[in-house]
Symmetry: D2
């Protein structure tokens, strides 16, 4: 058996669309504690104090909420070329473009459900301005001491009509590995957790209950301590941010989570904990329909909206919620 | 045996003198996350989000650092009158004045070491302005999400040439009770911890190694979690605030502590933990000279400056430090 | 206006009835980390590492779950006599008995809803056996490092058909003070939080939805950190202990909570946080029906069983649950 | 430029020698909360609840403390063969042996300073016995709720006369990458931090102040929360375990640390925090002699023993300590 493909280094950034740009920007800057790091057209770029790249978030004014694109950085230029060649050989090719604020030449393509993905290698390193210089030189930016103080982009969860198809597409072509999975009694996959590295996941697909293609479930920013998530809840409460679910601990992946809605209509998770995968031959953990029905790790039942709503919002959501 | 005097409700506020007023103010507002709540003459009044009174700190511009005064609120008007009568009967009387920003008629007097103490009962309740209104009505102010985010004034530690004399003065006259104590081999008291209520202390006297009268060792603000103290250290690091000692856990009182120097030259502690005293007949815990020499709870030796420096600074401090 | 009565020192202990004695004992010893400290008849006495008295829990074998009695310690012998005189003058008197393991002569009586309450002053101080001796002499017992590691008994929540009547009875006769309260649109009180000291509550009454008298909602043990509650949830998960609700933060009292069912059928809370009341003239915080309907502090809706079930269990519970 | 070698998956286990075997075993089982998982000759094998392999620690009775060997697991059989070929081509070859409890065929060799290193790929997966089965299937073992409750082996720190030589040896031959480094004013390397994966280090060499070869500075076990480290200190205090330094935060690597001495004379660290390295082109962070002299992150000066003592102990240690 040949060795596993390991060409993707990590989830690099996400482009989020928002119809309420100023309020969304304030959510990420004032409440989460991120820093603006660039602008271009209708977009502002942002980074958290532990993001080593220029941006982990591209916030773009748009008529409705949702995903613009997500991007992985590869391990090398050669790794980038290999992945592009594999995509094109599979008839799943996209196109090269010249790059964006913070990174160089990039290749974009679509997953089977229609989300836009991007690969690149060349990443810009920018010295922080004096007021953002950290006291410890092994830290990208100064810890803000403002709001939640998120450390780095952790993962993205996309909705798809058939999560299993996305997995079948991405495993061989990008070398993402499946680490956990929900397999229903009919054999279909209700959720797949994929990882590019030792974090136990950075890309998740869960089933879109509305049957819509190309939607976003949430993006997640990491904090170091579970207590930081609790403190985040205290802050969201004061700011009137809608908390949909949590703080609680997921059974799957064991992430300690808190889900909020940013003002533009995208779900944003603050998370801590989870685990690293050291085993190079790690076998995916498979959860059955019955196991999934047990709720979260400590017994909390997830609210219906969590299984139904995504961005952009679609009319079927209200019908499904009413049926609960 | 007669019942214990319980006329003092709690440590209410402290007046701190600073020769670098603007920087000190920024320390309390921007770094600790407190809110200005009034002004008078050369003073600004401040409160933390959990302080129910208008002010727990009066910051006053002055030629040198140190204590202005400290104030206890009594349980009632009658309790105030009883304490004043006791002081005057003991020949330790002071004088009435009309009150200050946040409180009414008050009585000031001096402890044997010369610190200025104040008693009052009438306390002003002010509704917070809209931007400081808390989401939960059982909280005095909105949690700031800015800097350390201290909750309330916790205690004050004064330096005295003879801590035991202060205890002998305050126990019968104010009804403060001794909860922990360091008794040296020669029988003298190197430190006394006094409490007005179920918190295990709110007023401490420790021996002034320089032999000077009337100095301050530190004031302390409380945070809820030990993790909040660690996070405070991360914030102080970024702001360049001098951390003298900690985070660590005291053996005496078990407080989890971090000592800093505010820019004006007063020591300020961020603390968490400790314990409540429920026992109405609690016996003081006595630490011997040998026990005290063991250092803090987990073995850290306290730095020499902690045992020598106070505010205002005096020349003898440098001689003593040099002798170490 | 006369000064407030302050004769009760603190909630001392609770007697819990259990039809599954061995399993209940294991819950408190192995999972919560408490220590057996005495036996008598069908009862075992237990204390947590921060309980200064010989026992905070009397666990008694019985045909069904529920409250045996709860006990307050008074501030002095005189305070005990004063409260007994007040009860008897009000025609609410009970009877003296000789005491129990850990305390002396005591007076028992019933609240209007029929719960058995006890008052005493003389409390036994027992030196811990060598293997339970703490490293720090200001701590009652060694920290166990076993299971949850609860610190001390925090509060008890009784069910009553009319919580307001209990408050009207206990405020003047025991001097407990009301700190928070739910007042419904019809003016009735759905919940009252009472305090004997600076902890913001130690005795709560909430309405019994089944209309039954004399039942228990839960008892609560305190841990120092919110993280300790999260860790408790991890431990309960491994032990298969049923977690009914939480970890989450109450809006009322701001307690960070986790509710479990001990094997005998009594609800036990692990709690942290909350706040102290320093204000001697503290005004009760009143929550309206609409405010109460908003759920817990961070938006979680409480599960129906929390508002319906108590101990002992009664048949009406299932009907009410089915109606949800 | 060719792509970086990535053949090592992770630090797998450490063999520790102890002249007080039973006490050392009790330290790891009763105090740290690890589980025995096998025996062989004079050795017992142990794993923590998050270690996916059969053992992360081989504890071996021996006349003196110190390192037996350390082992890395490779990404594949081919990766193992490649590393052995590289070692042999460099004249640094060792020898194959048949494996040990928990793993298959392995290759042992020595670093230039004389420590014994091992490489292997085949790792045994053992189902936990019923009483150790976790509630969540994505966790190797049940969380113990006993003692510190360490999660997994985190890293090892070896002493070497010339740390830089070890780095020059291991970077090209094993593909470990340098992430942080202390370079003294004379250009020599006082410390090198090496990583096999996205954890920012798993193998460290620091200079042996005594000039002795082949010694161990410490091994480290990971806990999830900084609060877990503080709680560990509370537990060590009760057990009388010697805490040499901490809890505090390292400037280098930002690890939150607590150093203890296990009864056999080896230093064991409990750590949390730190950071992951996502950047595939990460540049080593270089600390100068002056920067290093500043002490730990929050200002604590490290105790002299930390820079002098290792295992096994050597007579020069006392001379150097006396010189401080």
């Amino acid at each position: 058996m040949s060795e596993r493909i390991r060409d993707l280094a990590h989830l690099s950034h996400v482009e989020l669309l928002t119809p309420r740009f100023d309020e969304s920007l304030s959510y990420f800057v004032d409440i989460l504690g991120m820093e603006p790091s660039g602008e271009s057209g209708d977009s502002v770029f942002l980074r958290a104090f532990g993001d080593y790249e220029r941006a982990s978030l591209k916030l773009t004014a748009a008529p409705h909420a949702g995903l613009g694109h997500l991007a992985y950085r590869t391990h090398s230029r050669e790794a980038l070329e290999r992945r592009v060649a594999a995509l094109e050989a599979a008839g799943a090719g996209g196109e090269w473009h010249d790059g964006d604020v913070g990174h160089g030449r990039a290749y974009t393509f679509r997953d089977p459900d229609g989300h836009l993905l991007e690969l690149f290698y060349e990443s810009e390193r920018v010295d922080p301005p004096p007021h953002l210089r950290p006291a410890l030189k092994n830290q990208p930016l100064r810890y803000p001491g403002r709001g939640v103080g998120v450390r780095h982009l952790d993962h993205i969860n996309l909705l798809a009509v058939e999560p299993g198809e996305q997995r079948e597409f991405l495993e061989p072509l990008l070398g993402l590995r499946l680490t956990e999975q929900i397999v229903l009694d009919d054999g279909s996959e209700a959720g797949v957790w994929l990882a590019s590295n030792q974090k136990s996941y950075d890309l998740t697909y869960t089933r879109d209950a509305t049957g819509t293609h190309g939607r976003l479930h949430h993006i997640a920013y990491f904090v170091d301590q579970r207590e930081d998530v609790l403190r985040a809840a205290d802050i969201f409460l004061e700011y009137g941010v809608v908390m949909e679910s949590g703080p609680h601990k997921h059974a799957i992946q064991q992430t300690f989570f808190l889900y909020t809605w940013e003002p533009g209509g995208n779900r944003v998770e603050i998370c801590a904990g989870g685990y690293l995968i050291f085993d190079p031959a790690h076998e995916p953990v498979v959860w059955s329909q019955a196991e999934r029905a047990k709720g979260q790790a400590w017994g909390m039942q997830t609210v219906p909206s969590f299984h139904i709503k995504g961005s952009p919002s679609v009319p079927q959501e209200e019908e499904l919620l009413a049926a609960h």
